[in-house]
């Protein structure tokens, strides 16, 4: 069965600083990979997705992520963080089966210092 690990439970960065959130997955084949963001009291908003092709994917709000097969990773990056980026970020893995269920990591809570 597939699994997802987000090693960092909390991260604090200063506004304007760069950000990298780590995600590692375990799956026998190439998975579908996603990053979602959850603001307090809100649902899960899709930031970006990887299905195939170019391993560097661009998403909304200036985020990007890079799929590295050799490291089983799909880290999320942003060059300059804004205070409004403070939220919880979830990495998820999907597989191409009948249900296409998603398996989520535990999430990383991002705090932004002024």
């Amino acid at each position: 069965a597939q699994s997802v690990t987000q090693p960092d439970i909390h991260i604090t960065v200063s506004e304007g600083a760069s950000l990298e959130l780590r995600c590692n997955y375990s799956y026998g084949a190439t998975p579908y990979l996603f990053w979602y963001v959850q603001s307090p009291g809100q649902g899960l908003q899709l930031l970006l997705k990887y299905f195939s092709g170019d391993t560097l994917v661009q998403g909304i709000k200036g985020f990007e992520a890079e799929f590295k097969r050799s490291q089983s990773s799909f880290n999320l990056r942003k060059p300059s963080v804004h205070w409004s980026d403070a939220a919880e970020y979830f990495c998820a893995v999907g597989i191409n089966n009948a249900g296409n269920m998603l398996t989520f990591g535990g999430g990383t809570r991002l705090m932004v210092k002024p």
């Binding site: 649902g43 899960l44 299905f51 009948a98 296409n100 269920m101």
Partner: protein, 113 residues
Amino acid sequence: EPEVTQTPSHQVTQMGQEVILRCVPISNHLYFYWYRQILGQKVEFLVSFYNNEISEKSEIFDDQFSVERPDGSNFTLKIRSTKLEDSAMYFCASRDQGNQPQHFGDGTRLSIL
């Protein structure tokens, strides 16, 4: 942009009572999902639904749970006899056919007393 909508936003129910959580998926989507997130824990898959039948379900989705698409727009999750441990945020999601991502609603917070 089309959204997945869930009602109610917060449901408080006595233990042992039945509860129905409602979702309106994005109108042209064909695949439907329920997930739950117990406070402080991971988002967990419950069930997927396609072509009017369950296509996959997790161990959590036992006989107390059922899903239904009663008409062309709604997708419901029923918990027959709620337990304290059913307290969680329940998310509905839908997606289009092909390699498309799942889009999530804002969730229903279920509190069992």
